[in-house]
């Protein structure tokens, strides 16, 4: 039997990816350019007995998914820049209280209301530094509609596996373009469920590190009684200001993601084997970069692309390894140098990093990238 | 018939010395002794439970038969 194929918009594919992953609860607030996700969820979730709720504001939507996740549900909230900014405090609570959830953020022009229908890639730093305090960040940046489906499944898997919020952030171009999507069969992409406790309710501690850096999470209503707080907490879940406990918990929360970077980071290496000029790109910009690399190759230039699928944790290790071998990195992006700065860190001064930045609501075209590729000597 | 008196337990660990129990006891059974509430006149107690009910600190138990 052949697989189901459809011609889908990015937001549609993302939504079906979430449903494939087992999402049963969605809360959101209308915002361009991600609203299609909410609209499809309002149709599809009740059909499977799931719950859709349109909340009174962006913060309320984030609160509702965190509450629902604590009952054991796989949860999704979709938004765009201004909404993503509003959610930041509760994203921090998701991190410190270690509540799995997926936040789908379509990147549009900013700051503030910015350019609601224009594409951008300027939220990637907000994903890492938007909420205050030290915390882990996982951020996926898909580049095609098919990948949006698959990466949405991975976002849920990572969220459940590491018990932390995960962001999936296509730019507006990827979210609104239409492409052919081949649906995976049920079970074809393995699904990860959160670890639930094996100890008795009396012995359960919601942050029990004797089970490792990702402690099992019980569901409200499953017979386990426990406390969840937005304060710094001890392993038993209750607030603490004891220096050594706070330090240990904070370090563990970051370590559980950073320490598993190799499991989380995914990337595509395109024409890199002999590449002398490497374009480091993500999202729709990577599509222009691929074209530019192809043209450069036709002209005899040894160009390649390192395409980020995971923005956070950032693949410093991989980029540093390339830095000694190539003549230059080129970072095209629809912001004023967010990936660029991280690539400079990774390059450690061994190789020049050339940025191509656009914040005018227009995509970066292949010619712009090709020009810079040719400029690397 | 002899009046049955309750036992009034006041936890010094929990009492914060707010005076509420002393002030709202209708029979003047309690008093402040230093920082804590304490039983002054158990004989007068009518087991109305007001002190236990009003204590914000879970510090008072009125144990009746």
């Amino acid at each position: 039997m052949s697989k189901k194929v459809a011609f889908l918009q990015g937001n549609e594919a993302a939504t079906y990816g979430a449903l494939y992953a087992g999402c049963t609860f969605f809360a959101g607030y209308p915002i361009t350019p991600s609203t299609e996700v909410a609209e499809i969820m309002s149709i599809e979730l009740p059909k499977i007995g799931g719950k859709f709720i349109q909340m009174e504001d962006e913060i309320g939507a984030m609160a509702a998914i965190l509450g629902a996740s604590l009952t054991g549900a796989k949860v999704l909230d979709s938004t765009s820049g201004p909404g993503f900014s509003l959610k930041q405090e509760l994203i921090g609570m998701g991190c410190i209280s270690e509540i799995p959830c997926v936040v789908y953020n379509v990147m549009r022009g900013g700051p503030s209301t910015g350019m609601p229908t224009g594409p951008s890639q300027s939220d990637v730093m907000c994903a890492k530094w938007g909420t205050h305090g030290d915390h882990p960040a996982i951020c996926l940046v898909p580049s095609t509609v098919q990948e949006l489906f698959e990466e949405m499944v991975r976002a849920f898997n990572l969220s459940e596996k590491y018990r932390t919020p995960v962001f999936i952030m296509p730019d507006e171009i990827v979210a609104h373009m239409r492409e052919r999507v081949v649906f995976p069969e049920p079970g074809e992409i393995p699904l990860i469920e959160r670890t639930t406790p094996t100890v008795s309710p009396a012995d359960y501690k919601p942050y029990d590190t004797s089970f490792g850096d990702v402690p099992p999470l019980a569901a409200f209503g499953s017979g386990y009684k426990f406390h969840v707080t937005s304060l710094n907490k001890a392993q038993d879940g209750f607030p603490t200001t004891k220096a050594e406990l706070v330090q240990a918990e904070e370090e563990r929360q970051v370590r559980k993601v950073e320490g598993n970077a190799d499991d989380i980071i995914e990337f595509e290496e395109y024409q890199l084997d002999d590449a002398e000029v490497v374009v480091i790109a993500y999202g729709s910009t990577a599509r222009s970069a691929r074209y530019a690399v192809n043209v450069a190759r036709e002209q005899g230039i040894k160009a390649g692309m390192f395409r980020l699928k995971t923005f956070w944790p950032f693949p410093y290790k991989q980029i540093t390894a390339m830095a000694g071998k190539v003549k230059g990195f080129i970072t095209p992006e629809m912001n004023l140098g967010m990936c660029f700065g991280e690539v400079e860190r990774a390059a450690q001064g061994k190789v020049p990093v050339i940025g191509i930045f656009r914040v005018d609501g227009e995509p970066i075209n292949p010619d712009q990238i090709l020009d810079k590729i040719k400029g690397v000597k | 018939m002899e009046k049955k008196l309750p036992k009034i337990e006041i936890s010094e660990k929990l009492c914060k010395g707010c005076h509420i129990c002393v002030e709202f006891c209708p029979k003047d059974v309690l008093e402040m002794k230093g920082f804590y509430a304490s039983v002054k006149n158990l004989e007068a107690c009518i087991s109305c439970m007001q002190c236990e009910l009003r204590c914000p600190d879970f510090a008072i138990k009125v144990i009746t038969e």
């Binding site: 709720i53 009174e56 509450g67 309710p201 209503g221 969840v228 937005s230 209750f238 | 009003r54």
Partner: protein
């Protein structure tokens, strides 16, 4: 016989953090008596709060408890309840948390008429941060941020809840301790969004600044201003000046409850499949 509060309190968690004479403990006891009288199952009960003195309450109670961010309790509770409607979900918090930073979530939870109970412990002040005025601080009162007297008019929490669509609204005071459990129990039993406002005292940050000589004076003020709804019916407008109605202020059993309505959405969606 002494009431067995320990049954509902997490071992080792007392004494609580509240100041001497703060009525929050009295309200927590009323809430425990209500839960006991209804024989709620601890494992099946979720208590949700935001931030502030009152919001520390869930940490003491031996149920599923969720202490969230400032103002967000009603939105978290909505998520919990919609995801698992079979659970009993109770929100607790203060006046600032519930009606200022959380005001939007509060009115929309009222509007949805989702089956939650919201206990607002109204002590007219932001206590935890040191006594700044809240939307429930009386006009003219002194707070750390109204050193010349509060120019703001205050909210009437009960009227706000009724206006926004809550279907059970009651008011008590921490002086009227033996009424608290009854109001809360009735609220929990109500099928819809229920609000119980308990007028409370903050001797530390409100009383001292506003010339209350003692906790007792604050308690006596609550006693003096409270008028039961029934008694108020026989009083003149003049007699009711400066008074506050207590008891069950509003009850409507006809408005559909949100999770029940959502079940109908599920039925319609499945039928349309």
């Amino acid at each position: 016989m002494a009431f067995d509060y320990e049954k509902w309190i997490r071992p080792g968690k007392l004494p609580h953090i509240w100041c001497p004479g703060c009525g929050h403990g009295i309200i927590m006891k009323g809430m425990i008596r209500a839960m006991e009288s209804l024989k709620l199952k601890k494992e099946n009960t979720v208590i949700v709060s935001g931030i502030g003195c009152a919001s520390r309450l869930p940490g003491y109670i031996d149920c599923c408890t969720l202490h969230t961010a400032h103002g967000r309790a009603a939105a978290f509770a909505t998520g919990v309840k919609l995801a698992k409607p079979e659970m009993d979900v109770i929100i607790v918090g203060g006046d600032g948390d519930g009606t200022a930073i959380g005001g939007n979530h509060f009115i929309h939870a009222c509007r949805r008429n989702i089956n939650l109970t919201y206990i607002i412990m109204n002590n007219n002040i932001y206590g935890m941060t040191g006594g700044q005025f809240s939307p429930c601080t009386p006009t003219g009162a002194l707070a750390s941020t109204t050193p010349y007297g509060n120019p703001d008019p205050g909210f009437d929490v009960a009227k706000l809840a009724i206006g926004a669509g809550a279907t059970f609204v009651a008011r008590g005071t921490s002086f009227h301790a033996n009424q608290i459990d009854k109001l809360i129990a009735e609220a929990i039993q109500h099928k819809g969004f229920s609000v119980v406002e308990i007028l409370d005292d903050c001797p530390t940050t409100y009383g001292r600044r506003n010339k209350f000589k003692s906790v007792i004076e604050m308690m006596n003020r609550l006693k003096d201003i409270a008028v039961p709804v029934k008694a108020a019916e026989k009083m003149t407008a003049e007699q009711l000046k400066g008074k506050v109605l207590t008891g069950v202020l509003y009850k409507d059993d006809t408005k559909p409850e949100y999770t029940v309505e959502y079940d109908k959405v599920i039925e319609r969606a499945k039928a349309a499949k």
